[in-house]
């Protein structure tokens, strides 16, 4: 149960003394209880893909990995619901659902590693959410192991439910600070009959016209992104440094055909001549590569994600790019459907000292911006959370109720709590 391996579960330079891989919810709860009693600090580990989205733990004794909590607990495709272990990877979930032409649009990066529980706990919400809803909107039930040794469930396996509090939402965005998600029940969707990904490099001068025409037409793409060349996957960009408009269309063949026709003609009117179109499986893979790119971290870079209004996404991205201080560059993705802006700040060697000020300026331009990836060297000097939310006092009171001895991820939450 408890393997005394090192080299797993590490966060930047922090290595836990022990790694535990419980195989069921009760075992997870017992581990948490024992850790709490012993005064140990525990970090819950999913796939580790979004660990940069919270601060470094101040204490770290035990990594509680959900890897073995990966079973499908309940899945009758005719119900359009599934119940699965929180440690199941998104890739495994997608493969299970694909056998029945179903899918769950979590749109998280690195699906071979990312888990259901980790994606929810990180509060991830991807580019297709304007159409399909956020991951939290697909959760119909959840169970979490708590530090008092209990397993608490809420919701169920039905798609409409007003029976007690919807505690599944509480763990969304919790980064493992309240409990360890052990099981999640989800709504599933029928896979679209057709899927096309349109890729259109454009001249920076026509950006505003592209924005005006790319989204908000009669038939909208399910995702629409403006990607700076440096953040575009190499095989999708044309290599000449122009930004790329990416639009994903999903639906019936008739809908997708019409949407693409209208999209191309609108882009033509905006001065964008060439649109490359990828079909179905290739389109899905390319889209996943683009989302993977959100976390494309390299040495001396940090990536922030800021939510905002769709109408302002492009302008906020441009503003962010324009404030890159001496010795650094900022590359962005503007999400026209959701309002998200992803900004990657990269700096040249020996410019580290300017980093905190550069991030503060970037946060000033973007509004509240959360760190989602970055060079581990930068973790210690850049707060993951940025500005604190208005309801922070309530969140901290919840933390104190659920985890009175700060067993779970001490230091990972706001203000190093």
């Amino acid at each position: 149960m408890i393997a005394k391996r090192r080299g797993t579960g590490g966060l930047a330079d922090r290595e836990p003394a022990r790694l535990a891989e419980p195989s069921d919810a009760r075992e997870a709860a017992a581990l948490l209880r024992a850790a709490a009693d012993a005064g140990d600090a525990v970090v819950v580990q999913g796939g580790g893909t979004l660990q940069a989205a919270a601060n470094l733990p101040t204490r770290y004794d035990l990594a509680l990995a959900t890897r073995r909590l990966d079973a499908v607990h309940a899945y009758d495709p005719r119900d359009l619901t599934i119940g699965a272990g929180a440690g199941m990877t998104l890739d495994a979930l997608a493969r299970t659902l694909a056998e029945h032409d179903q899918f769950i649009p979590f749109d998280a990066p690195l699906v071979a590693r990312a888990t259901i529980g980790g994606t929810l706990a990180a509060g991830w919400a991807g580019p297709r959410r304007a159409t399909y809803g956020r991951p939290r909107d697909l959760v119909i039930g959840a169970s979490a192991a708590l530090v008092d040794g209990t397993v608490a469930s809420s919701g169920g396996m039905v798609v409409k439910n007003v029976t007690g509090y919807d505690l599944g939402k509480l763990y969304v965005g919790s980064h493992g600070t309240l409990g360890a998600l052990v099981r999640v029940n989800l709504k599933v969707l029928t896979a679209p009959a057709a899927r096309r990904l349109a890729l259109a490099p454009f001249e920076p001068e026509v950006r505003e016209r592209v924005v005006a025409h790319a989204y908000g037409r009669a038939v909208e793409p399910v995702a629409a992104l403006l990607i700076d060349a440096a953040l575009a996957p190499r095989h999708l960009a044309d290599g000449d440094g122009r930004p790329l408009l990416v639009a994903l269309f999903e639906g019936s063949e008739a809908l997708v055909d019409r949407a693409l026709r209208e999209f191309r003609s609108a882009l033509g009117a905006a001065g964008v001549a060439e649109t490359r179109v990828l079909d179905d499986r290739i389109a899905a893979e390319a889209f996943q590569t683009i989302v993977d790119g959100y976390l494309a971290s390299r040495e001396r870079s940090v990536t922030l994600l800021a939510r905002g209004l769709p109408s302002e996404a492009s302008a906020r991205a441009e503003l962010a790019r324009s404030i890159a201080p001496e010795g650094s560059t900022i590359d962005t993705i503007a999400d026209l459907a959701t309002g998200d802006v992803i900004a990657r700040l990269s700096w040249r060697p020996h410019h580290e000292a300017a980093l905190p000020a550069a991030v503060a300026a970037l946060r000033g331009a973007l509004g509240r911006a959360h760190r989602i990836a970055g060079d581990p060297q930068a973790w210690a000097v850049i707060d993951a959370w940025g500005e604190t939310p208005a309801a922070l006092a309530t969140m901290l009171a919840l933390k104190a109720q659920f985890d009175p001895r700060s067993t779970l991820a001490p230091g990972r939450f706001f203000d190093g709590r």
Binding site: D137, N161, P389
Partner: protein, 468 residues
Amino acid sequence: MSPFAARLLAALGPDVVRTDPEDLRVFGFDAFTENTLPDAALIPRDAREVAIAVRIAAECGAPIVPRGAGTGLCGGAVPARGGLVISFVRMNRILELDVRNRRARVQPGLINLELSKAVAGYGVFYAPDPSSQKISTIGGNVGTNAGGPHCLSYGTTTNHVLGVSYVDGEGEVRRTSVDDPGYDLTGVLVGSEGTLGVVTEIDVRLLRLPEAVRVCVAAFGDVESASEAVSAIIGAGIVPTALEIMDATITHAVEAHYHAGYPHDAGAVLLVEIAGMPDDVAAGEAAISAIARQHGALSWRAARDAAERDALWAARKGAAGAIGRIAPNYYIQDACVPRTRLPDVMHAIDAISREYRLPVGNVFHAGDGNLHPLLMYDRRIPRDVDAVHDAGIAILRTCIEMGGTISGEHGIGFEKRETLGLVFSPDDLAAMGRVRNVFDRRGTFNPDKIFPTGAICGEVTAATALSA
């Protein structure tokens, strides 16, 4: 007048605070049967007045019950221990409308349908549409995470609330947003039935109106075969915007009142709405009607125009009211099962109806597995009253055994609190209790609702404070 009511009156004046028993009578009940007068009613104009009242109530140990339009069926708005009822009839405006970003900020007293009507000219709408939408408020809908027929493809209220402002137990106004980092407090507040705070503003998501909408009616021999058709439609992965079933009893009552054009001779009717691009709507109708026919549909008809479509919907949404024609009283149950279990649960409800000798009518959101059996009875006959209670519990137990739950969209309120333990373990309830204790450590907000007696520590505190 209680000392609490007197303090409120002194602080906020007689226009905002009502204490006359005649005035209070309308705040003593909702669509459930309980009737308890509050000590005072607050009719605030803004969040500041709510906050002042909450602070005074907290100091006096008086409970607070926020109230929408009082259409709730589970006693959620009944002031079970007296105290203060807050009515939002004056806080009923759209504060901001942002069509480009498809969102609006509204006050809790805004009537659900008024929002969609006000924004329709901009090509957008607010999706949750409980049958009560002509009178129920967005604030009340937030409290119960209200559903409605169109939740099948659009999701329930919680999927359309982007943030709220609320007054907490200390009388502070706080704001949440689904875009905030950290815990999703918005999602916890929606559906909490007024037990965690008093919501004073709501940010809602608006959707674009579909290009085409088609409403069709299929006739079936009985409600079981209609249910099989619905299970098969969902099972085939087809999710139209609505799939509603009415049995013969309900259809007759509805037609007698509305003359909407439902088939008279059917054992059950299936109402189907398909929305989207015109080509998709046509293809959807072809696919769904084919499955319906395979499962015994006797007829299939599409509404010819918007007027006919609206008439079918008006009748469907007025179904509960139309029952008044055939029974002196009815009790509407709300439960939800996985969609594959629909035919089984309809058989079981039929058996329960016979066992307890109570006629039952079924009108429900079949596509979601959300049942609404109406048990018809006469309140003046004691046997009937007992039988309704027992049959209601039997239906809930059946739904739980089938993997379902005891409320799909009406909430737990006062009515079902003692049955919550059928669904959740003491550990589950303890976790919910922790949340309750954080938002409302004095147990001020809507005590005696949702949780079984004694399950939540805060309630004990409140009871002690009141009796002291």
